[in-house]
């Protein structure tokens, strides 16, 4: 049972980590767009 929960948890950790990197990239890009608008 532990292996089952470990596999399901690991799957969602991988997906959520990836979604987190997407959000971080989006915020960085938004910052760059704001800088461009100021110029």
């Amino acid at each position: 049972m532990n292996f089952l929960y470990a596999a399901y948890t690991a799957t969602w950790i991988i997906h959520i980590t990836y979604l987190g990197t997407l959000v971080r990239r989006y915020h960085r890009l938004s910052g760059e767009i704001e800088e461009l608008k100021k110029k």
Partner: protein, 286 residues
Amino acid sequence: MKRVFPILALLTAVLLSCALYEALVAAPTEQTMGNVQRIFYYHVPSAWTAFLLFFINFVCSIQYLVRPNPVADKLTNWTVIAIGIAACIAAFVIRPLPEGIEPSSVATTGLAIAGFYFLIRKCFSQPRTDALAVVTAEVGVVFCTVVLVTGPLWARPVWGIWWTWDVRLTSTLVLWLIYVSYLMLRRFSTSGQTPVLAAALAVFGALDVPLVYFSIWIFRTQHPQPVIGGGGSIDPRMLHVLLINWLAFLCFAALVCWSRYRLEILQREVEETQALEALLEPRSSR
């Protein structure tokens, strides 16, 4: 489109929750392996989704390479049409087909290849196919990582070992490494030829996908035989849960790809603007 996305995201969340319930509670417990067999409901759909994403990456890479050249473009179009027709003919002519392969699946696969090719061609311009290729490779690597993590977590209690260097496992690891190197190339190379080099790498990398998929037909491996096709069998209730989970992961992958694609296009526009600004800056300062 901005209104559609939250609705689709909500539907996908509901579908994923239902799929999780089906996998953990509703699916019958396998007699030999027990509950650990339920890892299969995440492992197999993740693998199928990764293969589909790598296939889209392959189609996009081919289109990125051939579309600037009209002769190569026409030749590829006719080749794809020929693949579709040949698959339909082969389904009815070749007898007997390898064990577990149905004539309808051969014809469907050929037609799906042709359909996907022309759908992507119609919906995406040549530069946009490059963006879609990056996106599908990245999301495909995420799903392939899930496969490589959940596989050993199933193997340890069932086989007694985390990993074995058999053909299915090794070719999957090689596939993951190929696409990680593809993403590294895209991330760190600053050459103008990077998209072309990456597309060429992706075309060769995609050749590993059929090797991974058919390895359990061709070679004697420790990996279980396919439960759909290939002579394997599965309880209809388990098949139902498997397909629901695949549908849920497909919807999730489509949403992630959609978000990542929008981010990629935005990023390219920002880079173009920055480059343009860098060109104009010295003139304005004079």
